[in-house]
Amino acid sequence: MAQSASEYVGNVKDTVKSFWHGMSITLSYMLRRPITVQYPDRTDLPVRDTLPPRYRGFLEVDVSICTGCQACERACPISCIQMELEKDPRNPKQRLVTQFDIDEAKCMFCGLCVEPCPTGSIQHTREFEGSQRSIRNLVFRWADPLAPFPVYKVAKDA
């Protein structure tokens, strides 16, 4: 396509001007401190501590205040929480939780199980490093089937 002389020279001028600015910006960044941090071992403090409090990492259950209401089990869309409750053979009024497993490999950390918990026993920690030898190790077991923990009863006036 025929280009007029001014257009020809204009192209050359634009090219030079735009290269000039582009090069000066990249050079200016070379003289500045990089912002990347070298995870995992050369960070000034462990990354886990730099995360904000609301970070949704692995789940953690405080078994002493778990009322065994299975609200979290119902709220989880992928059903990766599994609980098993039984009557305590010694005193029938007390219920025992024999199985409380959370399959963290399937969990998508959406936080829907934390909200309905009446006593807030299930919470997100700021732990996220989940590499394991086998995927079965990612199933966290919060109740020992041989020594089930008693269900917490909220005091009436509390």
């Binding site: 600015h21 950390f109 959406c110 936080g111 829907l112």
Partner: protein, 379 residues
């Protein structure tokens, strides 16, 4: 089993049939193009999608209304907040809920920050596809600041699950407002640097100017939405023309394609509309932070909401255009049908018809300029 797609490719003459994908550095996710090339010039590029199909719409019918919210994040993980809001608006209209003012403002703030982050990834990866590798880390550096802000707000960097039916999950944490304002001050000085670095670069303008032009009628006819539509000259923005949530209270300008580097509706317009849109969103966040009203952030909603039978469509102006959630309820606690109509799906439809005559390098530029994201196409 001979693929049906190859039926459309006439193999009489000696053109080369190329598999451009599904694993290819510049297809922005798992998308495959059967490309019929004559030397460098394409005869036709036929998109072959579906590699990332998880049938989220079928899951929507099995999981209850609140349970589906985390799945909406995974439809378009680069702009998850909009998917949340689209679904939330649809279900709230079914349940006839009135979302409190403060919750609507918080939604607007989170969405606009998310739009900036999504556009940053889009223009950064577009510059990298054209060959300039350096702008990509700069874009991601700014996105890191936004990710940290949103992580402090709702706990996740990509799949937020921040919105709930009837409002928002958390309120602004301590000191978040000032952190956000300092980020916005830093961010505003970035436009002139970004322009000088890449937008006005002569090679960049030459590579994108006048390439794969989509005319105004073609854009509407093929159902393009969002920045792709505005770049072709159609002045339509859902936030301003059919305001939902708190957008009626904000004043912002909507950039429309003006043929900055050649023709209206070419790849450069689609790119530069996104750059300007980012800085318009920054203004919206600033206005929203100043006029943030007091009040509670979520309406009381039963654990298993049962909306009465009916259907509705929640429309939201996402980073990739108008995202619409069509929810049909039949009175039970599970949706009868959840349909997510996304902008990228239709953008794929137009590629086959405007790709003849492009070069291989232009096909890369076209895919990058349409800003398609594979999970949003396949859902």
């Amino acid at each position: 089993m001979e693929k049906l797609i190859l039926r459309r490719v006439d193999r009489r003459n000696e053109e080369m049939i190329l598999n451009f994908g599904p694993q290819h550095p510049s297809t922005h996710g798992v998308i495959n193009f059967i490309v019929e090339t004559d030397g460098e010039v394409l005869r036709r590029a036929i998109p072959d999608v579906g590699y990332l199909h998880r049938s989220i719409e079928k899951i929507g019918e099995m999981v209850g209304y609140p349970g589906f919210m985390p799945y909406t994040d995974r439809v378009d993980y680069l702009a998850a907040m909009f998917a949340n809001e689209g679904y939330a608006i649809a279900v709230e209209r079914l349940l006839k809920l009135q979302v409190p003012k403060r919750a609507q403002y918080l939604r607007a703030i989170a969405c606009e920050l998310n739009r900036i982050a999504s556009h940053l990834v889009s223009i950064g990866s577009m510059a990298m596809d054209i060959g300039a590798v350096t702008p990509f880390p700069y874009a991601l550096r700014e996105r890191e600041y936004i990710n940290d802000l949103i992580e402090a707000l709702c706990g996740a960097r990509l799949t937020y699950n921040y919105l709930r039916i009837g409002g928002v999950a958390y309120d602004l944490p301590q000191g978040w407002r000032d952190r956000c304002l300092t980020f916005l001050d830093h961010f505003d000085s970035l436009l002139q640097e970004w322009d000088r670095l890449i937008s006005f670069n002569e090679i960049y303008e030459r590579r994108l100017g006048g390439v794969a032009v989509i005319s105004r009628e073609q854009a509407i006819d093929y159902g393009l939405v969002g920045p792709n539509l505005r770049a072709s000259g159609v002045d339509w923005d859902l936030r301003r023309d059919a305001p939902y949530g708190a957008y009626a209270d904000f004043k912002f300008d909507v950039p429309v394609g003006k043929g900055w580097a050649g023709v209206v509706g070419d790849c450069y317009d689609r790119y530069y509309v996104r750059v300007l849109e980012m800085f318009a969103s920054a203004k919206i966040v600033r206005q929203a932070l100043e006029k943030l009203p007091e009040g509670e952030i979520q309406v009381k909603v039963p654990k298993k909401p049962k909306p009465e039978a009916g259907e509705t469509m929640g429309r939201v102006e996402s980073a990739r255009g108008e995202l619409a959630y069509y929810v049909v309820s039949d009175g039970t606690d599970r949706a009868h049908r959840v349909r997510a109509r996304t902008g990228s799906f239709l953008a794929m439809g137009i590629i086959e018809d405007i790709s003849p005559g492009l070069m291989v390098a232009d096909l890369v530029a076209l895919i990058a300029s349409l800003d398609v994201v594979a999970p949003e196409i396949d859902r």
